[in-house]
Amino acid sequence: MITPPNYPGIPGASPGTPPGPPDLDVGNSRFRLALARIRLAWRSFRGAWSIYLESRIGVLSLLIIGMFALMAVAHPVLMLTIWDSGTYDPVTGYAFGQSQQPASPSWRHPLGTDPLGRDVLSQLLWSTRSEFVLGITAALVTVAIATTVGAVAAYYGGIIDAFFMRLADLIIALPGISLLIVLSALFKLNLFYLALVIGVLGGFGGTAIILKSQALSIKVKPYIEAARVAGGGHFHIILVHIIPNLLPLSLLYMMFTVTSAIFAEAVLSFLGLLDVRMSWGIMIHTANTGGYLMGGTRYWWLVVPAGASITLLCSAFYMGGRALDEVVNPRLRRRHD
């Protein structure tokens, strides 16, 4: 869904306006303007898309992300159709009829069961959804904060700029995982808080610096001056002219934030520090605390599916981000052939 980004700045057009007699003429032209903007956005999106598709790695990572999205959808569907919750529930299920746990893969349990007799495939699929929720929440928080901070710092400059940039410097210098470990000692971290913390750290950290420098280059463009001369308020200019132009770069950093969020969750779960019922990290944690990892390849299904999923999804978002980088940042594009 593409929403024209011009509503909030125009008085009387904000969504909160009570419905009155519609001013047909103004409404119509505004509607056309919106349409034109959508068309323009669509065209530039198509151009960017075709560049993105040229990157083999970019396409591959998109396919991988799509595959995981399917996996996330598959779990509730399977639970509703062929899996009964007594056996297949990722947390409370128990696979009866196995002589010992963990049981190796079989037709009934394609990826075997874990030391507590729970179906590994079900755990894997169930966790996929929460990884997406976590990653995307964190990314949205990061981008919302970083875009605002970047635009505001670049637009106003001076002490506001200095404050946010020093803050970002400070946050960059903080090792995130270590900080999260400390936080987990003091507070009960669940998935949502984790996403929030990662999002806030990312948003006020490095992403803000990069978006600010981008916003600075937008700020000096003639159309910003034109908007100011035309009487656009600060708020209007930031919202309508600067932020929309920051969005492509924001999208790029969203991809990277997803990677770091999923990674952080997995590490903290692996260390047993998170208040989460099931996740890829917890699956490995369970196997590790049970001492099954040093059995080498014997209990491979306890660690390979989860470990590979974490690595694959993280690198898919990361490589996707890099492919996007070549779109957003034309200097990296290959010149010929």
Binding site: I57, A173, S178, V182, M294, G296, C314, Y318, M319
Partner: protein, 383 residues
């Protein structure tokens, strides 16, 4: 330049102050305080509890507690560790921090060197098999789930091949009859490493000062002689076997940490290099008839290094986090493992101490990178 350094040091002090403040308010924000934690611990005798309460100023108003916290932190008094009772936190950390430093420093230097080398190679010849292999394997290693990867390394090199020990800092069997402490041997090893590095730099510097091209050739052999001399001294010191044991335990964690962190530098170098190869001075260098290798290394890569060093901060933070994970998986008794154990046992004073030290660590690394940058870029050096 002096002005810059002074300003930079000032910023560091300020940042450290912010971190300490942040730590204080974190503790304040969580339910309960130090006193409740100590009160819950049956191992601590009541009179010690009373004494601790007084030393943290828990009966005083908040701002006074804050001042006491500041004073305590600055003087290195983080209180008594709860998990290692009755050792003070500082005592535990003084033992653990150098171990992390060694792990972190060697891995960082190695991964930077490898990353930079590969990055410039793949940017120089685009589209070859090297670019694909290096990019994909680099990105995979960069995003690989570190604990799983570390476990895999242990499994391959310690269990299957049996080349290296499984984990930990030393082998108790080797040390059973040793009459020196591990900390002493490790300290001597650090001293040797430091002296050797200083010697190598001195040789390079002095040979460069003479200004004769032919002499640079002697740098390698001279440094090698220094290394052999150091080994010679060690093998007759009587504790050489013990040092070797520690070394053996160091290899796998360092290799693993290097593998997971070189890719960041590699990909950055590649991007940065793709921009510098289009610069006019690279074209000019080629026009001057310099050999391709010189055009690449002395001009394109030397300039590509600047943005890479600027973003080294990210890599450093990544490596610090990586070393925490590696320490946990390899049971390497450094700051990271200490932090995790403290978190698990709710040893709050030790958590705070470890956190301040990790913060200090990253600040120092940050500052070193900044100074390095100033040294590398003459445009800043002479401002």
């Amino acid at each position: 330049m002096t002005g810059y350094l002074v300003r930079r040091a000032g910023q560091m002090v300020l940042t450290l102050f912010l971190i300490i403040t942040f730590a204080f308010f974190l503790v304040q924000a969580q339910p309960g305080d130090y006193a409740t934690f100590y009160a819950l611990d049956p191992d601590i005798p009541p009179e010690v509890k009373q004494q601790l309460r007084a030393s943290f100023g828990l009966d005083k108003p908040l701002w006074e507690q804050y001042l006491i916290h500041l004073k305590n932190t600055v003087t290195g008094d983080f209180g008594v560790s709860f998990g290692h009772f009755p050792r003070p936190v500082m005592d535990v950390l003084v033992e653990r921090v150098p171990r992390t430093a060694v792990l972190f420093l060697s891995a960082t230097v190695l991964s930077f060197y490898i990353g930079f080398f590969l990055g410039k190679a793949i940017a120089w010849r685009r589209g070859g098999w090297l670019e694909y292999t290096a990019t994909i394997s680099g990105a995979t290693l960069f995003t690989v789930f570190t604990p799983a990867f570390a476990l895999m390394m242990i499994w391959i090199f310690a269990f299957r091949l049996g080349w290296l020990p499984v984990g930990k800092f030393l082998d108790p069997l080797v040390w059973r009859h040793a009459d020196v402490s591990a900390n002493y041997v490790f300290g001597q090893m650090l001293l040797t490493a430091f002296l050797f590095t200083a010697f190598a730099f001195l040789v390079l510097y002095l040979l460069k000062r003479t200004g004769r091209v032919g002499l640079a050739r002697w740098a390698g052999p001279l440094i090698a002689v220094g290394g052999v001399a150091a080994l010679f001294v060690w093998s007759f010191s009587g504790v050489g076997g013990l040092a070797l044991d520690i070394l053996k335990h160091m290899v796998l964690p360092i290799v693993t940490l290097t593998l997971i962190s070189f890719a960041g530098t590699m990909l950055l170098t590649r991007n940065s290099m793709l921009e510098t190869v289009r610069e006019d001075y690279v074209m000019a260098a080629r026009a001057k008839g310099l050999p391709e290798k010189m055009v690449r290394d002395r001009h394109a890569a030397r300039n590509a290094l600047l943005p890479v060093v600027t973003s080294l901060v990210y890599s450093l933070v990544f490596a610090i986090d990586g070393s925490v994970i590696i320490e946990v998986v390899f049971s390497w008794p450094g700051t990271g493992l200490t932090l995790l154990q403290a978190v698990r046992t709710e040893d709050l004073p030790l958590v705070m101490g470890a956190m301040v030290f990790i913060g200090l660590f990253s600040l120092l690394a940050h500052a070193i990178v900044d100074v390095l940058y100033v040294y590398l870029d003459p445009r800043i050096r002479y401002q």
